[in-house]
Protein backbone atom coordinates (compact mmCIF):
# COMPACT_ATOMS: atom_id res chain seq x y z
CA UNK A 1 0.00 0.00 0.00
CA UNK A 2 1.36 3.37 -1.05
CA UNK A 3 -0.10 6.47 0.59
CA UNK A 4 -0.99 9.06 -2.06
CA UNK A 5 -1.83 12.72 -2.13
CA UNK A 6 -3.72 12.37 -5.45
CA UNK A 7 -6.08 9.83 -6.97
CA UNK A 8 -4.10 7.03 -8.58
CA UNK A 9 -5.94 6.70 -11.86
CA UNK A 10 -5.35 9.13 -14.70
CA UNK A 11 -8.00 11.72 -15.52
CA UNK A 12 -7.91 11.62 -19.29
CA UNK A 13 -10.33 14.53 -19.44
CA UNK A 14 -7.94 16.74 -17.47
CA UNK A 15 -4.81 15.39 -19.15
CA UNK A 16 -6.03 15.85 -22.71
CA UNK A 17 -7.48 19.30 -22.00
CA UNK A 18 -4.09 20.51 -20.75
CA UNK A 19 -2.25 18.85 -23.63
CA UNK A 20 -4.42 20.33 -26.37
CA UNK A 21 -4.39 23.72 -24.65
CA UNK A 22 -0.58 23.54 -24.85
CA UNK A 23 -1.02 22.92 -28.58
CA UNK A 24 -3.04 26.11 -28.84
CA UNK A 25 -6.56 24.67 -28.87
CA UNK A 26 -8.28 27.18 -26.64
CA UNK A 27 -11.75 25.67 -26.66
CA UNK A 28 -11.61 22.41 -24.70
CA UNK A 29 -13.36 19.32 -25.98
CA UNK A 30 -16.73 18.77 -24.36
CA UNK A 31 -17.01 15.16 -23.28
CA UNK A 32 -20.29 13.30 -23.25
CA UNK A 33 -21.97 13.41 -19.83
CA UNK A 34 -25.34 11.97 -18.93
CA UNK A 35 -27.38 12.17 -15.74
CA UNK A 36 -28.94 8.81 -16.53
CA UNK A 37 -27.39 5.62 -17.81
CA UNK A 38 -29.43 2.84 -19.40
CA UNK A 39 -29.75 -0.53 -17.73
CA UNK A 40 -31.36 -3.83 -18.63
CA UNK A 41 -31.31 -6.98 -16.56
CA UNK A 42 -30.29 -10.23 -18.10
CA UNK A 43 -33.44 -11.91 -19.42
CA UNK A 44 -31.99 -15.42 -19.58
CA UNK A 45 -29.05 -17.31 -18.12
CA UNK A 46 -25.65 -16.23 -19.41
CA UNK A 47 -24.98 -19.74 -20.65
CA UNK A 48 -27.84 -19.26 -23.13
CA UNK A 49 -26.74 -15.80 -24.28
CA UNK A 50 -25.00 -14.77 -27.47
CA UNK A 51 -22.26 -12.22 -26.81
CA UNK A 52 -21.03 -9.57 -29.25
CA UNK A 53 -18.04 -7.25 -28.95
CA UNK A 54 -17.87 -3.64 -30.10
CA UNK A 55 -14.47 -2.10 -30.81
CA UNK A 56 -13.12 1.30 -31.80
CA UNK A 57 -10.44 -0.40 -33.94
CA UNK A 58 -10.80 -0.37 -37.71
CA UNK A 59 -9.68 -2.14 -40.86
CA UNK A 60 -6.79 -0.47 -42.66
CA UNK A 61 -7.77 1.39 -45.84
CA UNK A 62 -7.74 -1.02 -48.77
CA UNK A 63 -8.08 -4.09 -46.54
CA UNK A 64 -11.73 -3.84 -45.61
CA UNK A 65 -13.58 -7.15 -45.96
CA UNK A 66 -16.77 -7.26 -48.00
CA UNK A 67 -19.53 -5.28 -46.37
CA UNK A 68 -17.23 -2.97 -44.42
CA UNK A 69 -17.58 0.62 -45.68
CA UNK A 70 -14.58 2.12 -47.44
CA UNK A 71 -13.80 5.79 -47.95
CA UNK A 72 -11.97 8.60 -46.25
CA UNK A 73 -14.28 8.79 -43.24
CA UNK A 74 -14.67 5.87 -40.84
CA UNK A 75 -18.13 4.37 -40.59
CA UNK A 76 -19.65 1.81 -38.25
CA UNK A 77 -19.21 -1.75 -39.48
CA UNK A 78 -20.02 -5.38 -38.77
CA UNK A 79 -17.46 -7.98 -39.87
CA UNK A 80 -17.07 -11.74 -39.48
CA UNK A 81 -15.45 -12.56 -36.14
CA UNK A 82 -13.14 -14.97 -37.95
CA UNK A 83 -11.64 -12.01 -39.83
CA UNK A 84 -10.67 -9.98 -36.76
CA UNK A 85 -7.31 -11.63 -36.19
CA UNK A 86 -4.51 -9.74 -37.86
CA UNK A 87 -6.96 -7.53 -39.75
CA UNK A 88 -8.06 -4.73 -37.48
CA UNK A 89 -5.58 -2.04 -36.63
CA UNK A 90 -5.23 0.61 -34.00
CA UNK A 91 -2.42 2.85 -35.26
CA UNK A 92 -4.58 5.91 -35.77
CA UNK A 93 -6.19 5.75 -32.33
CA UNK A 94 -4.84 7.45 -29.22
CA UNK A 95 -3.39 4.98 -26.76
CA UNK A 96 -0.19 4.63 -24.76
CA UNK A 97 2.11 3.72 -27.63
CA UNK A 98 5.23 4.34 -25.53
CA UNK A 99 4.15 1.85 -22.89
CA UNK A 100 2.66 -1.12 -24.69
CA UNK A 101 1.54 -2.58 -28.03
CA UNK A 102 -1.66 -3.95 -29.52
CA UNK A 103 -0.18 -6.89 -31.44
CA UNK A 104 -2.21 -9.26 -29.29
CA UNK A 105 -5.80 -8.81 -30.51
CA UNK A 106 -7.34 -10.19 -27.34
CA UNK A 107 -5.95 -7.31 -25.27
CA UNK A 108 -8.65 -5.10 -26.81
CA UNK A 109 -10.93 -7.35 -28.91
CA UNK A 110 -11.24 -10.57 -26.91
CA UNK A 111 -12.72 -12.90 -29.55
CA UNK A 112 -10.51 -15.85 -28.62
CA UNK A 113 -11.17 -15.46 -24.91
CA UNK A 114 -14.91 -15.34 -25.64
CA UNK A 115 -14.64 -18.42 -27.87
CA UNK A 116 -13.05 -20.18 -24.90
CA UNK A 117 -15.89 -18.98 -22.66
CA UNK A 118 -18.28 -20.51 -25.19
CA UNK A 119 -16.31 -23.78 -25.25
CA UNK A 120 -16.43 -23.83 -21.44
CA UNK A 121 -20.21 -23.38 -21.51
CA UNK A 122 -20.04 -20.03 -19.71
CA UNK A 123 -21.89 -18.28 -22.55
CA UNK A 124 -24.17 -19.67 -25.24
CA UNK A 125 -22.12 -18.40 -28.16
CA UNK A 126 -19.97 -15.62 -29.46
CA UNK A 127 -21.63 -13.59 -32.21
CA UNK A 128 -20.56 -14.56 -35.75
CA UNK A 129 -19.77 -10.87 -36.30
CA UNK A 130 -17.99 -8.24 -34.27
CA UNK A 131 -18.87 -4.57 -34.55
CA UNK A 132 -16.85 -1.43 -35.07
CA UNK A 133 -17.80 2.07 -34.07
CA UNK A 134 -15.68 5.01 -35.16
CA UNK A 135 -14.40 7.50 -32.61
CA UNK A 136 -16.05 10.77 -33.58
CA UNK A 137 -16.06 14.29 -32.23
CA UNK A 138 -19.81 14.40 -32.80
CA UNK A 139 -21.81 12.98 -29.90
CA UNK A 140 -24.92 13.38 -32.03
CA UNK A 141 -23.62 11.12 -34.79
CA UNK A 142 -22.36 8.54 -32.30
CA UNK A 143 -25.64 8.32 -30.44
CA UNK A 144 -28.24 8.90 -33.15
CA UNK A 145 -26.55 7.29 -36.17
CA UNK A 146 -23.72 4.90 -35.25
CA UNK A 147 -25.09 3.31 -32.09
CA UNK A 148 -28.53 2.51 -33.58
CA UNK A 149 -26.84 0.98 -36.62
CA UNK A 150 -24.68 -1.29 -34.48
CA UNK A 151 -27.74 -2.17 -32.39
CA UNK A 152 -29.56 -3.18 -35.59
CA UNK A 153 -26.72 -5.50 -36.60
CA UNK A 154 -26.67 -7.02 -33.14
CA UNK A 155 -30.40 -7.58 -33.37
CA UNK A 156 -29.93 -9.32 -36.74
CA UNK A 157 -27.27 -11.53 -35.17
CA UNK A 158 -29.49 -12.23 -32.14
CA UNK A 159 -26.93 -10.84 -29.73
CA UNK A 160 -28.13 -10.76 -26.10
CA UNK A 161 -25.08 -9.21 -24.42
CA UNK A 162 -22.88 -6.46 -25.86
CA UNK A 163 -19.39 -5.82 -24.52
CA UNK A 164 -18.02 -2.45 -25.61
CA UNK A 165 -14.24 -2.22 -25.50
CA UNK A 166 -12.91 1.21 -26.48
CA UNK A 167 -9.16 1.43 -26.96
Amino acid sequence: MKPRSHRSFISYIDRSRAYYAAQGYEEPYRWATHDDAPFARLAQPLEECRVGVVTTAYFPAGHEPEGVPTGPEKQPYAAPTALASGCVHTDDLSWAKEETHTDDLDTYLPVHRLAEAEADGLIGSISPRFYGIPTRYSHRRSSTEDAPEVARWMHEDQVDVAILVPL
Partner: protein, 102 residues
Amino acid sequence: MIGSARDIVEECGVPRFVFTDFPLGNPVGKPDDVAMQSTMVRLALALVGSAAGPRTTVQAPFVWSDDEGWRDRYMQITDQAALAEEGRARRARQAAARARVP
Protein backbone atom coordinates in the same frame (compact mmCIF):
# COMPACT_ATOMS: atom_id res chain seq x y z
CA MET B 1 -17.92 -1.93 -21.10
CA ILE B 2 -14.29 -2.82 -20.46
CA GLY B 3 -11.97 0.18 -20.51
CA SER B 4 -9.05 2.07 -19.04
CA ALA B 5 -10.23 5.69 -19.17
CA ARG B 6 -12.24 5.68 -15.97
CA ASP B 7 -13.21 9.33 -15.86
CA ILE B 8 -14.40 9.45 -19.48
CA VAL B 9 -16.57 6.36 -19.10
CA GLU B 10 -18.02 7.32 -15.74
CA GLU B 11 -18.83 10.88 -16.81
CA CYS B 12 -20.61 9.45 -19.84
CA GLY B 13 -22.40 6.80 -17.80
CA VAL B 14 -22.73 3.16 -18.86
CA PRO B 15 -24.72 0.26 -17.45
CA ARG B 16 -21.72 -1.79 -16.30
CA PHE B 17 -18.02 -1.01 -16.38
CA VAL B 18 -14.92 -3.09 -15.78
CA PHE B 19 -12.16 -0.57 -15.13
CA THR B 20 -8.67 -1.76 -16.01
CA ASP B 21 -6.10 0.59 -14.50
CA PHE B 22 -3.59 0.07 -17.32
CA PRO B 23 -2.07 2.36 -19.94
CA LEU B 24 -4.56 2.86 -22.78
CA GLY B 25 -4.38 0.06 -25.35
CA ASN B 26 -4.88 -3.19 -23.45
CA PRO B 27 -8.13 -2.91 -21.50
CA VAL B 28 -8.68 -6.69 -21.64
CA GLY B 29 -5.27 -7.57 -20.19
CA LYS B 30 -1.58 -7.58 -20.88
CA PRO B 31 -0.29 -8.85 -24.24
CA ASP B 32 0.25 -12.63 -24.29
CA ASP B 33 -1.18 -13.04 -20.80
CA VAL B 34 -4.03 -15.39 -21.67
CA ALA B 35 -4.91 -16.10 -18.04
CA MET B 36 -5.29 -12.39 -17.27
CA GLN B 37 -7.36 -11.77 -20.40
CA SER B 38 -9.57 -14.70 -19.53
CA THR B 39 -10.12 -13.40 -15.98
CA MET B 40 -10.98 -9.98 -17.39
CA VAL B 41 -13.57 -11.34 -19.84
CA ARG B 42 -15.12 -13.51 -17.16
CA LEU B 43 -15.25 -10.57 -14.76
CA ALA B 44 -17.16 -8.62 -17.39
CA LEU B 45 -19.53 -11.52 -18.06
CA ALA B 46 -20.17 -12.00 -14.33
CA LEU B 47 -21.00 -8.31 -14.01
CA VAL B 48 -23.77 -8.69 -16.59
CA GLY B 49 -25.69 -10.79 -14.09
CA SER B 50 -24.52 -9.30 -10.81
CA ALA B 51 -24.91 -5.52 -11.32
CA ALA B 52 -27.84 -4.16 -9.33
CA GLY B 53 -28.24 -1.04 -11.45
CA PRO B 54 -26.61 1.30 -13.95
CA ARG B 55 -23.17 2.88 -13.43
CA THR B 56 -21.84 -0.21 -11.69
CA THR B 57 -18.03 -0.08 -11.83
CA VAL B 58 -15.73 -2.88 -10.80
CA GLN B 59 -11.97 -2.53 -10.92
CA ALA B 60 -9.96 -5.37 -12.41
CA PRO B 61 -7.64 -6.89 -9.78
CA PHE B 62 -4.40 -6.28 -11.69
CA VAL B 63 -1.50 -3.84 -11.51
CA TRP B 64 0.29 -2.85 -14.72
CA SER B 65 3.72 -2.45 -13.16
CA ASP B 66 5.43 -1.57 -9.89
CA ASP B 67 6.87 1.37 -11.80
CA GLU B 68 4.01 3.83 -12.07
CA GLY B 69 5.85 6.19 -14.41
CA TRP B 70 3.40 5.37 -17.20
CA ARG B 71 0.79 7.47 -15.44
CA ASP B 72 2.88 10.62 -15.80
CA ARG B 73 4.21 9.96 -19.27
CA TYR B 74 0.90 9.90 -21.13
CA MET B 75 0.34 13.27 -22.85
CA GLN B 76 3.09 14.72 -20.69
CA ILE B 77 3.88 18.35 -21.43
CA THR B 78 7.67 18.45 -21.48
CA ASP B 79 8.35 20.97 -24.22
CA GLN B 80 5.68 23.66 -24.32
CA ALA B 81 7.15 25.45 -27.36
CA ALA B 82 7.40 22.25 -29.41
CA LEU B 83 3.79 21.37 -28.59
CA ALA B 84 2.59 24.84 -29.56
CA GLU B 85 4.41 24.48 -32.87
CA GLU B 86 2.93 21.03 -33.42
CA GLY B 87 -0.55 22.49 -32.91
CA ARG B 88 0.13 25.36 -35.31
CA ALA B 89 1.41 22.93 -37.96
CA ARG B 90 -1.61 20.67 -37.60
CA ARG B 91 -4.06 23.56 -37.92
CA ALA B 92 -2.23 24.73 -41.04
CA ARG B 93 -2.44 21.22 -42.57
CA GLN B 94 -6.14 21.00 -41.73
CA ALA B 95 -6.83 24.43 -43.21
CA ALA B 96 -4.99 23.42 -46.39
CA ALA B 97 -6.97 20.19 -46.60
CA ARG B 98 -10.23 22.09 -46.19
CA ALA B 99 -9.23 24.52 -48.93
CA ARG B 100 -8.73 21.60 -51.33
CA VAL B 101 -12.26 20.27 -50.80
CA PRO B 102 -14.45 21.75 -53.56
